[in-house]
Amino acid sequence: MSRRSANWRAHAHVRRGLGLGLVLAQTLFATDYAMWLLPYHGGQPLEVATAIVFGFLFAWVSAGFWTGMFGLWDRMRGGDPVHLAAWDDPAELAATPLAKTAVLVPIYHEDVPRVAAGIEAIYRSVAATGQLAEFEFFILSDSRDPEIWLREQEAWQRLCRRLGARGRLHYRRRGLNLNRKSGNVADFLRRWGALFHYMVVLDADSLMDGETLVSMVQTMERHGEVALLQTAPRVVDGQTFYARIQQFANRMYGPLFLRGLARTQMGDATFWGHNAILRIAPFVRHCALPKIRGWGPLTGGVLSHDFVEAALLGRAGHEIWIMPKLAGSYEETPPSLVDDLKRDRRWAEGNLQHLRLMFLPGLRFVHRLSFGKGVMSYLSSPLWLLFLVLGTIEYAQIRHGNVNYFPEPYSPYPVWPEWHPESALLLLLSTLFLLFAPKVLSALLVLVDGKERRGFGGFWSVVGGILLESVMSVFLAPLRMFSHSVSVLGALLGWKVNWAGQRRDDGRTTWSEAWYQHGAGTIMAVTWIGVSLWIGGAFVIWTLPVSVPLLLGPAISVMLSDAKLGAWLRGHRLLLTPEEVDPPEVLRSVQESDWLAGADQTPPGKAFEQAIVDPRRNRLHAALARRRRHPPATAAWMAELRLRCLDQGPNALSRQERASLANDHYSLTQLHRMVWQRGSEDHWDLGPYPTSAD
């Protein structure tokens, strides 16, 4: 262990101890206060249950607050002198030679032009640094739909031509997509991992600046004990109202929390799955993920693999660092609440799986805590729901039940139920303070810094954006709470999760989609309001902050998915971010890319047909298709498919049948010849097709 490594560990222990102590002390105090607030002061089982649930929820809020405070401390001190980012002299770092690095872009049913535009922008940005020789790019496709992967292949070829990237930009599609993204990356590592020292893992919507990539490789080269550097991607390019709220919140409040996280986690940070660089040798050695054995829910393949991989690297003695101040790393956010909640459904199950892994022997304490935080980020929702239910029952008992003056058996002294609404209000306000104080502080830090303030569009844009975001977050919280509760329930009951490509366009949520997603919440809100009215008193007023958003859920969801509203807000300088006001070069090149302006020449639904008919496309797809000798039965089936395809056209085949033909070299070449030699042109469009100039 190097001197610096030992040094940061000592600091880390102090900071984590302090952080945990503050959270625990605050939680114990608040829970005790909440217990005192309850009518029997915790003298009944229902009250004990309420207090315990409250304790968990308060600890969660408190942890967020203190992370923000650590971030504030970091900001006030001008950074962390013990953090990895401060270890190297900038001139020495810049002079460090690079090592072979693979940039991986795992994709699954993504928007092909957007992916291609992103890769082109990153590639050109790396080329501009003069260090391209040390980088190779791999598009790793798991797409199953030939309509999509044929486009991917075409885009790959076009990228090769445009960038002169032959031999430096590769494309591979897995025949069998075992274990989703982690399996895709593992497949790369088995085949080509030994040729590289590092891999940069991206998402389909990731963008990284060339300078940032080079700097990360240099940092890794200088510190052999570091196995993973995680950047903090900034959310960009949001078009809808929802996406703009998300990117504003990420950009406005994110830095403070990230600084706090980096200051406490230090070299035991976590992996977020993308926009990170990893040292390949330890990753290969320690991060092959077995399935989680056993029966019941949360078993099988690891869904949220990134946290687990970081924990396994940490267990083996390697360091993982978050780099909160490293700019030049970007990602996009789902365009609508419905899309975000669908993604959360997968993440909820993945994070809950960590319950089965967090007690593995040898893991670092911080990684166990990270597992716990991941679990709590979803479990907090059903706990909140449970808290509301318990509170409703409690109040109903007071209003309509028989008062029990002797809750303690064998005690001759009566207990008078007491209710202190003013104290309850104080507790509520204290909790709200913990929730909103880091946000307010973040905003103040932006407002007092002229450069940052201008980046967000100026004083009134910042104030207006914060007010709008805060109002919307109040509406969004109950909707997320209900959906996450359903997701957690689904994960625990073993409901199947669909692995679908994330929607990254600005498509609007339809009313039917919105009702499907939020309808149950609306019904629950109506029921709860009804029960509250029956209970009587002022109780219904207390329910409104939760019940009203749930009641309006479908309408809110549809409104938030509106790209026109997003554009209107942008036009009125609301929810602006510095990356919008002055886009970085890599982002600008994506936004101005002709890929997004319709450079994809294949009309929708025509990729398979053009792969057969067009000589150039056919040669490309045939070259990338599998050449294999089929068993007689399969060969006969393929021959029958070819004939049916020829006689009745491509639309006569199912998606699976088209995929079988499009993945077979012989079928592609044969069909090409047969179509052109065919007497009739029924069912086939023999072009000419538009082709790109490059």
Binding site: E136, Q153, W156, Q157, C160, R161, G164, R166, G167, H170, Y171, R172, L178, N179, G183, A186, L189, R190, R191, W192, G193, A194, L195, E225, A281, P282, V284, R285, A288, L289, P290, K291, I292, R293, G301, R315, A316, G317, L357, L360, P361, G362, V613, P615, R616, R619, L620, A622, A623, L624, R673, W676, Q677, R678, G679, L686, G687, P688, Y689, T691
Partner: protein, 133 residues
């Protein structure tokens, strides 16, 4: 080529005449799709038809395998001469460009699992997994 000299009287059309067999039309369109210029397209259409005329006419005017082969051969030679598609080369080069030669190494197969793997603790100071080229 012999066929080049066999039909000196014909004038290369700038569009496929209607009275020629259907194969002419197909070759014309195929070459158009490949990006052969119109003037060259007419000349080569006639040449290819001359080469494969017998089989084409025998087959009722359709584009026969022989004509298709002749056309593919011609396109291949043309590409070699003009180096037209050098960005990604031929089929083999294309495939290799997409999938460079591998250097396989082991990473625990995902189907092999069990409690032992989750509970096995490897230290950082152990040598990395070996790989065989």
């Amino acid at each position: 080529m012999a066929a080049d000299t066999a039909a000196p009287a014909r004038v290369a059309p700038d569009a496929c005449p209607d009275d020629l067999p259907r194969a002419c039309n197909r070759i014309w369109r195929y070459l158009e799709m490949v990006g052969v210029e119109a003037c060259e397209r007419g000349r080569i259409t006639l040449k290819l038809l001359d080469q494969a005329m017998a089989s084409t006419l025998r087959d009722g005017g359709h584009l026969t395998p022989a004509a298709m082969d002749a056309m593919t051969d011609w396109l291949g030679k043309r590409e070699q001469m003009t180096n037209a598609d050098q960005a990604c080369g031929g089929a083999a080069a294309l495939a290799e460009s997409a999938h460079p030669p591998t250097c396989r190494q082991s990473m625990a197969p995902e189907r092999r699992y069990g409690r032992g793997r989750w509970h096995r603790r490897l230290r950082a100071d152990q040598p990395p997994a070996s790989h065989s080229p």
